[in-house]
Amino acid sequence: MLTKRIIACLDVRDGRVVKGVQFRNHRDMGDILELSQRYADEGVDELVFYDITASSDGRVVDKSWVNNVARRINIPFCVAGGIRSIKDARAILNDGADKISVNSPALERPEFITELAEAFGTQCVVVGIDSRLEKAANGSDKYVVYQYTGDETKTISSKRDTVAWAAEAERRGAGEIVLNCMNNDGVKRGYDLAQLRLVREAVTIPVIASGGAGDYPHFAELFETTGIDGGLAASVFHSGQIPVPDLKRYLRDRDIEVRL
């Protein structure tokens, strides 16, 4: 049986791993290679590196660390942040990344997803979606995609509906979606299960949950109630609050298929 994936996200700024709360107030969390190796050794299933400055600054991720990570670790990893062209993506994949993730550039020009899928195969193409719950005029909930979230002074609503955008991303060739629920990000009250279920039902490609993991039961309820393929977290792993081997054993004891 395919396991549920536990994914550690390393937000990268200026070559260091950082973490903010609801995308703000970034704190230094450590060295990229050291943390990557630690996670690979602890049994993390996959790593995502997100250069949180790249997209809004208009620069591509610094490539030297991508190559160093690829040489060092033996688990899959994805690189996100400021990938705006086939050339940017090719450089990162050639350096040894398994997947690239696009977010704001895909919102600016959705055809970019198709171009990436045609160039590298859908399995390399992840679409990251930063989504926020808003109240519509009639009081009902709606989920809206946000853009340029790496820099709070530039963050704007794309006005796109989250579920519709996820379906469009799949149609255009995305091989996976990482849904980051911004209301829940960094506040450790659990994943946004309702929103994740909506997106899960709208697509047949893998969907990864991001934003809100703060305790062991948050992962169990994610996998037991949503059909989501993987849970991504950052601060609870970086800080050591949830050791990955303990989390995996906790999930296995609840009959959730994981790699130990």
């Binding site: 033996n74 398994d98 590298f120 393929d229």
Partner: protein
């Protein structure tokens, strides 16, 4: 010397780095002479079968690969290319292993691609040397939308809605549907086992 066939796709670096971690040098090449004389050959591949076959054909590598007598390991799409046909674009493949690769059906409630860690189940009598030291049910990392059926040449299968070939061997031609270079210590062990097989070739 290990030759990694340059099939034009991305993601080849990770195979080279995995060999480096095992202390082995490799050369990335599309030169039939270099490939034929290598001790061992790795055929990586990501993307679509028709594109990959066209690329091998253009590089004059189809007959070169068919004629290899040293240990050959196809990885991911590189494994599928060893089979007879793929339903992906109804493409004739290298024909070194019997069977036709077909697509996973999202209609069965599966997410496709099959992406992530899944279990290896050894098949057949006796354990193939590629599986030496690998526990039954060990997890390895897969990323694919097409898969090869289980046959007499299947060394290990995996289940994703259906049973499919995860590891295949027919004589000197072997293939892994998963990515040993990204499958943690288990993958490193399987790559190491491939490197430990008696070498062939002229170099």
């Amino acid at each position: 010397m290990i030759a990694i066939i340059d099939s034009g796709g991305a993601n080849i670096a990770s195979v080279r780095f995995a060999l480096e971690r095992l202390g082995v040098d490799s050369v990335l090449t599309a030169d039939p002479a270099v490939i034929s004389s290598a001790e061992r050959v790795i055929l990586p591949g990501v993307g679509a079968a028709p594109v990959a076959m066209a690329q091998l054909d253009r590089a004059g590598l189809v007959e070169c690969i068919r004629g290899l007598t040293q240990p050959v390991l196809g990885i991911c799409l590189g494994m599928q290319l060893l089979f007879e046909r793929s339903q992906e674009g109804d493409t004739p493949l290298l024909g070194l292993v019997g069977g036709t690769c077909g697509a996973f059906d999202p209609g069965m409630g599966l997410t496709v691609p099959h992406m992530g860690w899944n279990r290896l189940v050894p098949q057949g009598e006796g354990r193939h040397p590629l599986l030496a030291g690998v526990e039954d049910g060990a997890h390895v990392y897969f990323v694919h939308s097409y898969a090869a059926p289980v046959s007499a040449d299947t060394v290990a299968s995996c289940n994703y809605g259906v049973d499919f070939t995860a590891l295949v061997a027919r004589g000197n031609f072997m293939g892994a549907q998963f990515h040993p270079e990204r499958s943690g210590p288990v993958g490193a062990r399987i790559l190491g086992n491939f490197l430990a097989l008696p070498a062939g070739g002229k170099g």
